[in-house]
């Protein structure tokens, strides 16, 4: 499949996912800067193409497992912004009733098996979900998103091997945003492309443009089709970037030091997934601009609603401390 084969409906669907992530994350950045969110938030701005493109290639009953930078994946899989924002504000109406926070949002109803605060921690879990689909004889697939940092964890290597040995329906989607926190990936691995590691496990390794939502969709759709047909896992390396720092507010820890040049930061900013897709739609006259503008208004309103919902939601009761423990 090439980008030109994608239907207009699907393009609008992918655009909507990218836009919803972007507007949500912009709001989160603002709230965090105002001191209105507890804990840590890791924003997905700049990487939206990956989650949106991949999730657009999935069915509702497919599984995804996410990372500490997980807001985008929840939204891309169809998550509810109200319950997400409430979770970020640690309210009782949040996805996890205030017990998970930003790095542990899950929505099992939509196959979103959770974000994960441990780098690489979610990868084996996705293999288990793929194993489960194989075991039950369904054609569901499981996707694990992870970063370049996780590609150096043992869990990544063990999972690739296990999924490959068992030919499980798993997509390993590496979001190579080029930094493990503040350490450039190139300084901690002696290879240029993480996709090369697929070879060592006997599975396809594909490099994808991680700022182009439609390219991500086509690459994912092919890997999903292979997985559904019982042909086993694929490693997709999405070359992408993060717009901001590792976590919001973390600039304070840098104490004036820099870890990437202004030129690099600016170049990254110009490789913008939302802008990229917007321009593609405009240049090819695929969707009327008024439609995109009204969509933006709808999304902005939905985000505003999520903030109102979260703010007006109650704090968790102290009694809930001992709920959700043993079954």
């Amino acid at each position: 499949m090439s980008v030109s084969d994608i239907s207009i409906d699907k393009i609008l669907d992918i655009y909507t996912r990218v836009l919803r992530i972007r507007r949500f994350e912009e709001q989160v950045a603002l709230l965090f800067s105002q001191g209105q969110l507890p804990g840590l938030v890791h924003l997905y701005i700049g990487e939206e193409a990956v989650g949106a493109g991949v999730c657009a290639a999935l069915r509702d009953d497919d599984y995804i497992v996410s990372t500490h930078r997980g807001h985008g994946h929840v939204i891309a899989k169809g998550g509810d912004m109200d319950r997400m924002m409430a979770e970020l504000m640690a309210k009782s109406t949040g996805y996890c009733k205030g017990k998970g926070g930003s790095q542990h949002i899950a929505d099992f109803e939509i196959g979103m098996l959770g974000a994960c605060g441990i780098v690489g921690g979610g990868i084996p879990v996705a293999v288990g979900a793929g194993l489960s689909a194989y075991y039950r004889g369904t054609d569901q697939v499981a996707v694990t998103f992870f970063g370049d940092g996780a590609a150096n964890e043992g869990s990544f290597h063990e999972s690739l091997n296990l999924a490959s040995a068992m030919k499980l329906p798993v997509l390993f989607v590496c979001e190579n945003n080029q930094y493990g926190e503040f350490t450039p990936a190139e300084t901690v691995m002696n290879i240029k492309d993480i996709a090369d590691r697929a070879k060592g496990y006997g599975i396809p390794g594909i490099i994808a443009n991680g700022v182009d939502p439609l390219k991500m969709y086509t690459v994912a759709a092919e890997a999903v089709a292979r997985a559904r047909a019982g042909e086993g896992p694929t490693l997709i390396e999405a070359k992408t970037h993060r717009r901001g720092d590792h976590a919001e507010g973390e600039g304070a820890f840098l104490a004036g030091q820099t870890y990437r040049s202004e030129a690099e930061r600016k170049a990254a900013q110009e490789r913008d997934p939302l802008l990229h897709l917007h321009n593609y739609i405009a240049e090819n006259d695929l969707i009327p601009m008024e439609r995109l503008e009204s969509l933006d208004q709808e999304v902005i309103e939905a985000v505003a609603h999520s903030v109102d919902f979260a703010r007006s939601s109650p704090e968790p009761e102290i009694e809930s401390l001992f709920e959700d423990t043993w079954v």
Binding site: G100, I118, P124, S155, L162, V327
Partner: protein
């Protein structure tokens, strides 16, 4: 009642539960062949799909169990030796042990991590770590360590049916031990201790192999007219506090015997609880008998000196008199 070995009882429990529930499957290194015989014969009946020989990949396999359980299956993950569980700790502690809670109750994780705990075979530290206190320290993981063939069968069946992650610790040194195991179906609820010997003078709280060392000590003491009550907790988390406190209320003397280290070990937990909640019944300070705080040496002679012996238990009991 038929007499069967501990390992045969494990085998029966697995066989029965896999027949009972098609969502139960077994995964681990060499589970087809069944190196310790506990899993032997399962592959012939249940095939490749339900009896999976995995790569030696503890972290990956433990995590695959989490994902499979979260999506409706009931995995039994065989990790062979307790020491190997440390390779899988992220998946057991951070994922299996936290997921249900941190996702606000969305996840149900019926997983059994089955392994051989502790020493006694001269295999050295990498095959002999007593790992149970680690997992007792994780609030949402159940920990089971059966001492007899009867118990291991009933408890393993309960563990497989339990909807929570369970670390199920067998002991190699108990594998050949025989005991009465009925052919009829039975299940022993997790969290229920068992009085293995009644006595009125001193309470010993223990589990696993140490039950047998304690029973031997009790026999010795009985010859001197000292009647020891041996409480076998069977489940270490959650543990049967009530049974222990009732026994202490009766005897007024307490010895905790555990095959792990003194610092933050199981014996420390039991002793602290008794001191806290049954102080008024105590006629003497509580005593702990534990492993010596060194890695498990390979020499059978040295290893024997690390693990609590019945002589040490006798001495500890006498200190309370």
């Amino acid at each position: 009642m038929p007499r069967k070995t501990y390992i045969a009882a494990i085998n029966e429990a697995l066989m029965e539960e896999m027949r009972r529930d098609k969502n139960v499957f077994l995964m681990g290194e060499d589970v087809r062949l069944g190196v310790f015989a506990g899993t032997r014969g399962l592959h012939a009946e249940f095939g490749d799909r339900r009896v999976i020989d995995s790569p030696i990949s503890e972290l990956g396999v433990a995590g695959a169990g989490v994902g499979a359980a979260a999506t409706g299956l009931r995995p039994i993950i065989d990790l062979m030796f307790g020491s190997f569980l440390y390779l899988a700790l992220d998946q057991i502690a951070n994922q299996a042990g936290a997921m249900r809670y941190m996702f606000g109750g969305q996840a149900t994780l019926p997983i059994v991590y089955m392994t051989q705990n502790g020493g006694g075979i001269g295999a050295g530290p990498h095959h002999s770590q007593p790992v149970h206190p680690f997992f007792m320290n994780m609030p949402l993981i159940k920990v089971v360590t059966p001492s007899t063939p009867y118990d291991v069968k009933g408890l393993l069946k309960a563990a497989i049916r339990d909807d929570n992650p369970v670390v199920f610790l067998n002991q190699l040194t108990l594998g050949g031990r025989r005991g009465e195991v009925p052919d009829e179906e039975y299940v022993i609820p997790l969290g229920q201790g068992d009085i293995k010997r009644e006595g009125s003078d001193v309470t010993i709280c223990t589990a696993g192999l140490m039950v047998h060392h304690s029973l031997k000590a009790a026999e010795t003491l009985a010859k001197e007219g000292i009647e020891v009550e041996v409480v076998d907790l069977r489940t270490l988390s959650p543990w049967d506090e009530t049974l222990v406190l009732e026994s202490v209320a009766k005897t007024g003397r307490f010895v905790a015997v555990d095959e792990s280290y003194p610092t933050c070990g199981a014996a420390s937990e039991w002793a602290a609880t008794v001191a806290e909640k049954a102080f008024s019944h105590l006629k003497a300070p509580v005593q702990r008998v534990t492993n010596k705080p060194v890695p498990m040496p390979a020499s059978p002679l040295l290893e024997k000196a690390v693990i609590p012996s019945s002589d040490e238990i006798v001495a500890a009991v006498k200190k309370t008199l």
